[in-house]
Amino acid sequence: MKFAEHEPGALETRLRQMRDSDRKILVPYITGGLTGWIDAIRGAAANGADAIEIGIPFSDPVMDGPIIQMASERALRDGATPISILHELRGVDVSIPLIVMCYYNTVYRAGHTRFANSLREAGVVAAIVPDLPLEESAHWCESADSSGIETVMLAAPTAPDERLPRVVDRARGFVYAVGLLGVTGERTELATTAVAMATRLKKITDMPVLVGVGVSNAAQAQQACVVADGVIQGASVVRRLLDEGADSVAQYVGEVRAAIDSPVSSNR
């Protein structure tokens, strides 16, 4: 295992503290601009979320399955823009860290430095850019680093062993372990790759490792947390917001919180 060489930022410091005090980390994902999204953030924060990932909707979300695609289309149709979403975020009175997820063209079009600064001004501490792999990330990371935005890197099951340490080295905040081969969306079972990926990463880094993509309910979150330091849940949260509204998100986050707070019994 390798100790991170960078100075941890606000998000990473906070997540490390949780990890070190045996609190499993829960990060719900919410599509920005969707009806009720601000209330969903508040509800999630009040019910045990440790950070929130806010998706800036994009016209061509290739890493996303049907639920988040539908949410993105709906938010865009309702007029959501990166500017309107960041503007609304400024007024959100929650004390947990806010992370933005956006596709790279949103960043590129705005300009790296301008975008990084606009995140910081909106109170966002970190960014996830799922179509910006390590080799293409240098320019953005430079701007993000100097604006104090932590860039979370994704680590995928397809990465050979020699690649993972390089991805982890560039990660800030936490390492996002991609739980399966595929796009975001709910699955009936937790893929075996989820725990395998967390195990591979925990062996090589002391940064917090969170599993996302395909962690679809409280039981699966609990299973992933046997090895991982926490989970990110997207489609299962967004589906509730789409179908039932913000209260349903709050309730669901509470359920997942309770599940990951009680360890899986060893005789199962």
Binding site: V62, N105, Y108, R109, L154, T158, G182
Partner: protein, 396 residues
């Protein structure tokens, strides 16, 4: 930049996959190892004489290469130019798409993949992919926008007949751009067993480079054939239609170092180079029709094959250095071009190629007496039903 001073060589992108500032590899982390694997597999295969011989044999004995040149004496006289067509429409499956698909399907087999995924707009690349899959014993899934399935039902049936599964893309504009999204999502999930057979000079590195290399057979043949036909000279102008841009890159590649004007004709409703700005989508940095926030705009073209808001990165490069030009024509001009070639020469072009015809007809007064080589990249059979609806009783 003065076209006379523009670079005259074909670029081979380095490890960063760039043509100038364009190209690259903007894909989810899951796909990075697959792109790297493909890059080395292609480079190995391309320098392996056995692979090249196998491909050449297939192109000759199966696809029907070399494709011929046809001089359009009637239309040439009518327009006051010398007009010669490179007849990619006569290839097996009716377009240039087969050139790249045979190469990619052979490569897929060489890499041990059992399944290929493809996206298609007009259905030409889908049909070519289904054909190669049938020939080489591969499973084939083709993603096609729901709108395109509607307007190209004949090609949908062809693909099914060839044993491919056709899946409708129902998101966004439900055309080619969304078919690419769906194909990429499939690939993210199936990357260990599936090969993504991209239909144009687009996508993440090495696709734009690799597909150009496979399509460069058009330009190589055409240069030689043209010189034989025209006393060793090169054409004044080479013209091709541009959606993603593979047929254009194929023929341009043979003439980049010649003293020849290169013209890529875009549809007015999908003019990525003409009306776009640099952006990143589908794994590449290139010119893109997008709004101020980087949302990709929907293209609108009469031809499903050009209904794409982006363009291959090498075209963006050629445009940025002034080596090629990218005018556009509107749907009405395209319909006229479609009729023009049919009436004057007895050749019904694909609606995509009718864009090139339309530009030539429009430009004719300015290029009197010049020699023009046009890539006729596909035949119009697939478009006849659509044109019947549009033209109806207007034909007499």
């Amino acid at each position: 930049m003065n076209p006379k001073q523009a670079p005259r060589e074909l670029l081979t992108p380095g490890a960063d996959g760039r043509f100038g500032e364009f190209g690259g590899r903007f894909v989810p982390e899951t796909l990075v190892p697959a792109c790297e694997e493909l890059e080395s597999a292609f480079n190995e295969a391309w320098s392996d004489s056995l692979f090249r011989t196998e491909l050449d044999d297939l192109l000759r004995e199966y696809a029907g290469r070399p494709s011929i040149l046809t001089e359009c004496h009637n239309l040439g006289a009518q327009l006051g130019i010398r007009l010669i067509l490179k007849r990619e429409d006569l290839n097996h499956t009716g377009s240039h798409k087969i050139n790249s698909v045979l190469g990619q399907a052979l490569l897929a087999k060489r890499m041990g993949k059992k399944r290929i995924i493809a996206e298609t707009g007009a259905g030409q690349h889908g049909v070519a992919s289904a054909t190669a899959a049938a020939l080489l014993g591969l499973e084939c899934k083709v993603y096609m926008g729901a709108v395109d399935i509607e307007r190209q039902s004949l090609n949908v049936f062809r693909m099914k007949l060839l044993g491919a599964k056709v899946e409708a893309a129902n998101s966004g504009s439900r055309t080619l751009k969304d078919a690419v999204n769906e194909a990429m999502r499939d690939w993210v999930a199936s990357v260990e067993t599936s090969y993504y057979c991209i239909g144009s000079v687009m996508g993440p590195h090495p696709y734009p480079f690799m597909v150009r290399q496979f399509q460069s057979v058009i330009g190589k043949e055409a240069r030689k054939q043209f010189q034989e036909m025209c006393d060793g000279s090169d054409p004044n102008i080479v013209v091709a239609c541009v959606g993603g841009g593979s047929n254009a890159m194929g023929i341009f590649s043979g003439f980049v170092d010649a003293d020849t004007r290169l013209v890529g004709v875009e549809p007015a409703g999908g003019a990525a180079v003409g009306r776009g700005t640099p952006g990143v989508v589908h794994g590449m940095k290139s010119y893109l029709m997008q709004d101020e926030y980087g949302q990709v705009q929907e293209a609108h073209s009469i031809s499903a094959g050009l209904d794409y808001p982006g363009v291959g990165p090498e075209h963006s490069y050629l445009a940025s250095v002034g080596r090629a030009e990218y005018p556009s024509v509107n749907d009405q001009e395209v319909i006229e071009g479609f009729k023009l070639l049919a009436r004057a020469e007895g050749i019904i072009p694909a609606l995509e190629c009718a864009h090139a015809v339309a530009w030539i007809a429009k430009e004719a007064p300015k290029i009197q007496g010049q020699t023009v080589l046009m890539n006729l990249s596909g035949r119009g059979d697939k478009d006849v039903a659509q044109m019947m609806t549009i033209l109806g009783d207007s034909l007499s």
